[in-house]
């Protein structure tokens, strides 16, 4: 039933409320006396140069790809963690071993990427 997800809704509401409070508290509580100089773009005291839409480096893309791969790895762990006790009582150690093989295979990939310098910023 959808009513069982009320705690999750409360967590989301608390997170969104806290984020909103942090962002808007400075405009809410801070004194405001704007003028033209204050509202202009600030760039280390210099006159601002160039565009605001800079292209980011392609190196971020590699980080994002590894993030997806290891994110998907973790997604498989959630159902295993929820059902582990029940399956362990039913099937024994093989439930643990099957997850261990999965994780070792992926950690080998992690080690390979690490040793090849995939996380290095050069």
């Amino acid at each position: 039933m959808i009513i069982n997800y009320i705690p999750i809704l409360l967590v989301i509401a608390a997170a969104a409320g806290f984020a909103g409070l942090v962002v808007y508290s400075s405009t809410l509580f801070g004194p405001q006396s704007p003028n033209k100089e204050k509202l202009s773009t600030y760039e280390s005291g210099m006159k601002p140069v160039g565009t605001t839409k800079e292209r980011v480096s392609v190196k971020y893309y590699l980080v994002a790809m590894f993030f997806i791969i290891f994110d998907l790895e973790v997604v498989f762990v959630y159902p295993w963690a929820v059902q582990f006790k029940k399956l362990y009582n039913q099937y024994g150690i093989s439930v643990f071993i099957s997850m261990l093989i999965f994780l070792v295979v992926l950690e080998l990939g992690y080690l390979y990427v690490y040793k090849k310098g995939g996380f290095k910023w050069d």
Binding site: I69, L87, L106
Partner: protein, 170 residues
Amino acid sequence: MNLEIILFILFSVIAAASAVIMITRANPIISALFLVLNFACLAGLYLLLNAQFIAVTQIIVYAGAIMVLFLFVIMLLRPEHDLTLQKKSKIKFMAAAAGIFVFAQLVYIIFFFSPNASQKTSVQSSINSGTIEQIGTAIFTKYVIPFEAAGYLLLAAAIGALVLAKKKFE
């Protein structure tokens, strides 16, 4: 009206509206952020269908990881080149044809299609199969070999990403 129907209408209206807003924005970053809202509403719809694991995966993988990748791709592109909406009439015609086809299919399924007896029982059992307990049991008993194969697939993806994206090795 009970709570499920109210939430279903709310999530579907926001999902449809955010999808329309997404494809009509000129700034691709705003499009991507509306896609995040769309994914969040889809997660709510999955939750209403009792598919809690898919709902959480939708948030973690799609709204989290995939959108990070999308935003990086958008920011990698030359910003002055992607500020024009697609105006080619041929592509518009193809897109309209595909949209009408999918819409007709949905209308047929919702209003004219009547499932036979075996399909009705499979619907009944699939309502319960979306919970994380059912999925965990299925993955680690019946589908343990495909699960390990998925591990090797992710390993291949990690190595492939490294080889393709990093030309210069140590």
